[in-house]
C-alpha cells in the first residue's frame, strides 16, 4: 500500500509538518503543577507532585533528589481495551522518561526529596512517549521545579522510503522506521533516542536533524503556552 502520494501524507500533512499541537496548564487541581499536551489524536496528562519526602527512606539520596515517573495508558486510550495497571511496557517507558528528566532537572538543588511525575495517556495515536515528555516538562515548569530547559520531544519515521516528521496513525503501523527523540534545546543534548527498523547511516543523520528541527518547534510552542497560561489564574475561575 502506498501511503505518501506526491509528498502528501494520509492525514494531509507535508513530510516535515507536525500534527496540530494543543496544551493546557492546571488540569489537575491538587497537584503542584499539571499540564495536558495534545499532538493530533495523542493526548497526555501529566501531574507533578513534590519535592516531597522519600518513602521508603532507604531510597533517599543525601546529595540529590530522586525522580519517580509513572507512565500509564488508560484502558480507553486504544482501539481495543488495554488492561489497566502497570505492564512491562509502562515500566519500561517510565524508566526511560525518568532518565530524561533526571538530566534536565537540577536534582542537586533538592537533596533528600522526591519529585513524582504521573503521566496518563488519555488517547493513543503513535508517539505517546513524546507527548508524555512534552506534557511532563510543562507540568514541571508550572510546579516550580528548577530545570535547565523544557524538554521537547517528537518522533521521525521512514514511510515508503521517505523521511517523515511526527509519525501518526497508519504511518506508525505500516512504516519501516520509527524514531522518537527527546531534545534539550539549551544544551543541545539529545536525551532520548530510540529506533526500530533498519536504515542507512546517512538517512539516520538526516532523520536526527529533522527530529531536532521538530523539537525546536515544539519547544517554542511550550514556551508560548507557559507565558500565556502559566502567569496567572485564568479569569474563568474568578467568575
Amino acid at each position: 500500500m502506498e501511503l505518501i502520494k506526491n509528498g502528501i501524507r494520509p492525514d494531509g500533512r507535508k513530510l516535515g509538518d507536525l500534527r496540530e499541537l494543543k496544551a493546557r496548564l492546571k488540569v489537575v487541581e491538587n497537584s503542584e503543577g499539571s499540564a495536558m499536551f495534545r499532538m493530533g489524536d495523542t493526548i497526555a496528562v501529566a501531574s507533578v507532585y513534590g519535592p516531597m519526602e522519600v518513602y521508603p527512606a532507604f531510597l533517599e539520596k543525601a546529595d540529590k533528589a530522586i525522580v519517580e515517573v509513572n507512565y500509564q495508558m488508560l484502558p480507553f486510550s486504544t482501539d481495543d481495551r488495554s488492561r489497566p495497571g502497570f505492564s512491562r511496557r509502562s515500566a519500561e517507558i517510565s524508566a526511560l522518561i525518568k532518565r530524561v528528566f533526571e538530566s534536565a532537572i537540577f536534582v542537586e538543588d533538592m537533596p533528600r526529596t522526591k519529585v513524582l511525575i504521573n503521566i496518563d495517556i488519555l488517547c493513543a495515536d503513535a508517539s505517546t512517549r513524546c507527548a508524555a515528555i512534552n506534557a511532563a516538562s510543562l507540568a514541571l515548569a508550572a510546579a516550580g521545579i528548577p530545570m535547565k530547559d523544557m524538554v521537547a520531544s517528537c518522533a521521525v519515521g521512514k514511510v515508503d522510503g521517505q523521511t517523515v516528521l511526527d509519525v501518526a496513525g497508519a504511518e506508525d503501523t505500516e512504516g519501516e522506521v520509527d524514531m522518537p527523540i527527546a531534545y534539550l534545546p539549551l544544551t543541545e543534548e539529545v536525551l532520548l533516542l530510540q529506533m526500530d527498523g533498519i536504515i542507512e547511516k546517512e538517512e539516520f543523520t538526516n532523520m536526527t536533524a529533522m527530529a531536532i528541527e521538530g523539537c525546536r518547534k515544539i519547544h517554542d510552542f511550550q514556551k508560548g503556552i507557559l507565558l500565556e497560561q502559566g502567569t496567572s489564574v485564568e479569569e474563568e475561575e474568578t467568575q
Binding site: 516531597m52 528548577p146 530547559d149 544544551t187 507557559l226 507565558l227
Partner: protein
Amino acid sequence: MESESEGYIIVTPGTLLATSEKRGEGTFIFRGKTYSKYLGVVKKTDYKTIVVPFNQKYCPKRGDMVIGQIKDFKHPFWIVDIFSSCQGFLYVKETNIRESRQDQLMNTFKPGSWIFAEVSELTDRVKLSMKGREARILKGGRMATVSPSKIPRVIGKKGSMINAIQEKTGCRIKTGQNGIVWIEGGHADLAIKALQKIEREAHISGLTDRVMEMFDREGIKEVKKDGAD
C-alpha cells in the same frame, strides 16, 4: 522567550538572562552565560539577577515564622506538617511547657491542631521553636493557602497590605512564610477573596490600590445584602 509589560519580565526555564556570569537565586550559569531555572519574574539589580518562581513548594529558612499542623507525638518531639518538602520537628524543650509526663504532653498539642512557630534550626531535620514572643497556638479561625513566593506581597511594605486587609475586614490574620494564612473573625470570606486576588496579580504593580478598590466594591455589596435581610 520572554514577555514584558508594566515593567516586569516573565521568563520560562532556560531563558537567557545575561551574556555574562551573574550571581543570584533562581539562575544558573552554562558556558559563561546566565539562564533562568524557573517560570517566574525577573528582578535585576546592578550586582544580582534573581528569578522569583510563580509557584513553588516552601523551602524552610532559619528564622522564618511558619504555620503548621501537628501530626504526631513521638517523645521528645511533635511531628509538624509545615507544607514543605520535609516535616518539622517541635521538641518539648523548645516549648514553654513544663511537663515531663508523656501522657500529659500527648494531650497538650493534639494531632490536627495548628501552631504558629519559628524555624529555629536546620540540620538533618527542620527544628521548630515556640519560645519566641510571636509563637502561639492557633485556635479556631480558617486557613487559606497562598503560594509561598507571594507571601511578601500579602504582607506588603512594612505590613501595609496585611494591616489594610485586617482593618477593612475586621479579621485577625497571621501569615506563615510557608504560604499558610490564618484568618479569624470578621468578614473572612472577603479576606480570602483579597488573598486570591493577590495570588493572581502579585507580579503587577499597584497591588494595594487594586485590593482597596475591590474592598470598596465588595463592601458596598455587603451593606446592601444586610439591608435586604
